[in-house]
């Protein structure tokens, strides 16, 4: 099986989808001729022409709004917002139109769009190029929210998202584009070409939305993670020697609650980790669900390890980023509680 980067896997997913279905169109800022700021759409315009892969003006609200209209008519737009930090102007269209079209039209209209956006920090982007806004979308009924953590899943989940009849927010952790990242910024990164999760099937396949994967089996504590944080979780488990079970959620909405509950009932402890800020983060939802469904199995409070409640700082990126040391500390405290 070929190994590839997450960028190549995402490109491959769009390639396969465009090849299979003429209704799939790809557009966004710098997406066509330039091939995307992270090169995720490189070559698609040459292959499919400028009516199916094209540049849009710098106008996120307009891009998403137009995509919703296209989708209502029956096309399947897969648009790119250049950074997740740029999505806020489009939030009105996403919340008030895309997420509500099905409900408002009594199921007559659907909105099969995918909005791809690079998310997260770890590249010194500062406060406007590093954010993780997933909780802004998980709070909106009518949306699906996907965060892949490796090339295999990225391709399978993106194809599934494009084929899904509802709007999907597809968050791509940009720190993972070229290789897994365990939070040790001072060490060289292993490229995907040397990592088993870089193996991606050729052609069409899907990873179903709403299905988590168990990245590492364990019996002592369950770590709930997604995106970049699954590798931080792996590093923390290795470094503490704690027999942690790591669940890669892959999809936040719909959430694979069954897998989560089964694991926490087995381990009796749970630590939630994400890069986004703590307060009202998705971890709060996870902690609430775990205590609701696993209350009598819990031997310790559910812990949360997250970015701090601050803007993403430029100079103190690695103080902000919830690395293996912070997660390791939470694991130890959870085991001793």
């Amino acid at each position: 099986m070929p190994r590839m980067t997450m960028i190549e896997a995402i490109r491959g997913a769009m390639d396969v989808s465009m090849d299979k279905d003429d209704d799939v169109v790809v557009f966004g800022e710098d997406v066509g001729y330039f091939g995307g700021v992270f090169r995720c759409t490189q070559g698609l315009q040459q292959k499919y022409g400028r009516t199916r892969c094209f540049d849009a003006p710098i106008s996120e609200l307009g891009i998403v709004g137009a995509a919703i209209g296209m989708a209502a008519y029956g096309l399947k737009p897969c648009v790119e917002v250049q950074f997740a930090d740029y999505v806020y102007p489009a939030y009105d269209q996403i919340v008030s139109e895309a997420a509500r079209l099905r409900y408002r039209s009594n199921g007559e209209f659907t909105c099969p769009i995918v909005i791809r956006m690079p998310t997260g920090g770890g590249i010194f982007g500062g406060q406007t190029h590093s954010q993780s806004p997933e909780a802004l979308f998980t709070h909106v009924s009518g949306l699906k929210v996907v965060v892949p953590s490796n090339p295999h899943d990225a391709k399978g989940l993106l194809i599934a998202s494009i084929e899904d009849p509802d709007p999907v927010i597809f968050l791509e952790p940009k720190r993972l584009y070229n290789g897994p990242f365990d939070g040790h910024h001072e060490r060289p990164v292993t490229p995907w070409s040397k990592h088993p999760l870089g193996e991606v099937p050729e052609g069409h396949f899907t990873v179903p939305l709403g299905k988590a994967s168990i990245l590492r089996e364990g019996s002592a504590v369950t770590i709930l993670a997604y995106g970049t944080m699954v590798y931080v979780a792996e590093a923390a488990a290795e470094e503490t020697g704690i027999d942690a079970e790591i669940i890669d959620l892959r999809t936040l909405l719909p959430l694979d609650l069954d897998t989560i509950v089964a694991s926490v009932k087995k381990t009796g402890r749970c630590v939630v980790v994400h890069e986004a800020t703590l307060t009202s983060g998705f971890g709060a939802e996870l902690a609430a669900l775990v205590q609701q469904h696993c209350f009598y199995h819990l031997e310790a409070p559910v812990a949360r390890v997250t970015g701090w409640d601050t803007p993403y700082p430029h100079a103190q990126e690695w103080d902000y980023f919830p690395g293996p040391a912070r997660l390791g500390l939470a694991l130890r405290e959870t085991m001793e509680a």
Binding site: Y33, Q127, H129, D309
Partner: protein
């Protein structure tokens, strides 16, 4: 409405007449002091940016870094028309704008390297810094977002009944953002003293103007809001200064907003990670060799014998020393203390 009640002067234009459209002024020759000042200012910007590029390559600057090299005449010519209290706001290609507002090269460079002596204590980085003292309102990483803020600055000038003007900079790419037009409408409706300076460097990152803009004459982007606009040779600092004089006078006399489309060019990529394959080397070389803003001034100065080659070399040395000092500071100043992580979030 409380605002309107308090200040009767802030009200919508009701006479229905549009202002007679201004015409692009011809460049006026500079005197010796103006030429040499412009030369020195632009040289400082260029050497500063060259050094920033070097520090980026050496790993002292991380993340994002957008260099202004090639566009120096724009901020320099506009600076020459400012009076005390005029505000400036721009996007993320902001280093030279800060130097034009007389912010310290040390403070800017140290912000790029994320040190405590930077204008935002290192927590902002290249795209996000400010100086209240120098009336520089940022430094904004979100394309187009500063245009609405700049409009608000102009409102404040009108409200305070001062003679100040808001210099609101954005690029040809940002000119396609929706909030730009919401701002245009309000600025014209309320006759706000704002100069919308569109730095048209022909490329919105990797997408050329013709591939992203239905109307590529950006000076006319305000037409449906009755905002006049003029196109300016943004590579000629004299042309910029002449247009800046006209525009500041327009605003200060209460005629409302005006658009200056600065036709300029950036020599480097959009950011440090941009190989700039969307344009030819010949195109860049042609701009460098035939339209360089600094070389234009240099040629005039030498021709008029206002300075000798040796004088200009000495000036270059002086500028290089300032930049070297800033770079040294930016590499040796400590990083912010961890306790700074949680400062300045809310009161």
């Amino acid at each position: 409405m409380a605002v309107a009640a308090k200040k009767a002067s802030v009200r919508s234009k009701s006479d229905g007449k549009s202002n007679s459209a201004p015409v692009a002024p011809k460049p006026v020759d500079f005197n010796k002091e103006q030429e040499l000042a412009a030369y020195r200012d632009m040289l400082l910007m260029r050497r500063f940016e060259e050094k920033a590029g070097q520090l980026y390559g050496m790993g002292f600057i991380g993340g994002f870094c957008h260099l202004y090299i090639g566009q120096e005449a724009v901020v320099t010519g506009l600076k020459m028309a400012l009076i005390e209290g005029d505000q400036m706001i721009t996007a993320y290609r902001d280093h030279a704008h800060m130097l034009a507002m007389d912010m310290s090269p040390r403070g800017v460079m140290a912000e790029l390297t994320g040190r405590r002596g930077g204008y935002s204590k290192g927590k902002g980085g290249s795209m996000h810094m400010f100086s209240k003292e120098k009336n520089f309102y940022g430094g904004h990483g979100i394309v187009g977002a500063q245009v609405s803020l700049g409009t608000g600055l102009a409102f404040a000038n009108r409200y305070r009944e001062n003679k100040n003007v808001s210099l609101t900079y954005f690029g040809d790419g940002a000119a396609n953002q929706g909030q730009v037009y919401e701002s245009f409408n309000m600025a014209s409706l309320w006759k706000l003293p704002v100069i919308y300076i569109i730095e048209n460097n022909r490329y919105a990152m990797g997408t050329s103007v013709s591939r992203s803009s239905a109307e590529t004459d950006f000076s006319q982007r305000g037409a449906s809001f009755r905002i006049p606009g003029i196109q300016v040779d943004g590579m000629d600092v004299r042309a910029v200064k002449a247009a800046a004089d006209l525009a500041t006078e327009w605003c200060r006399s209460g005629k409302g907003p005006i658009i200056l489309e600065m036709q300029t060019y950036r020599y480097r990529g959009h950011s440090m990670s941009d190989p700039a394959k969307y344009r030819s080397k010949e195109e860049v070389q042609k701009m460098r060799s035939e339209h360089d803003p600094i070389e234009q001034v240099k040629a005039r100065v030498l021709e008029k014998k206002w300075a000798s080659e040796d004088d200009l070399k000495a000036l270059d040395k002086e500028v290089r020393d300032i930049v070297a000092d800033a770079a040294e500071f930016a590499q040796t100043d400590p990083e912010p203390d961890a306790s700074e992580l949680y400062t300045d979030i809310t009161h």
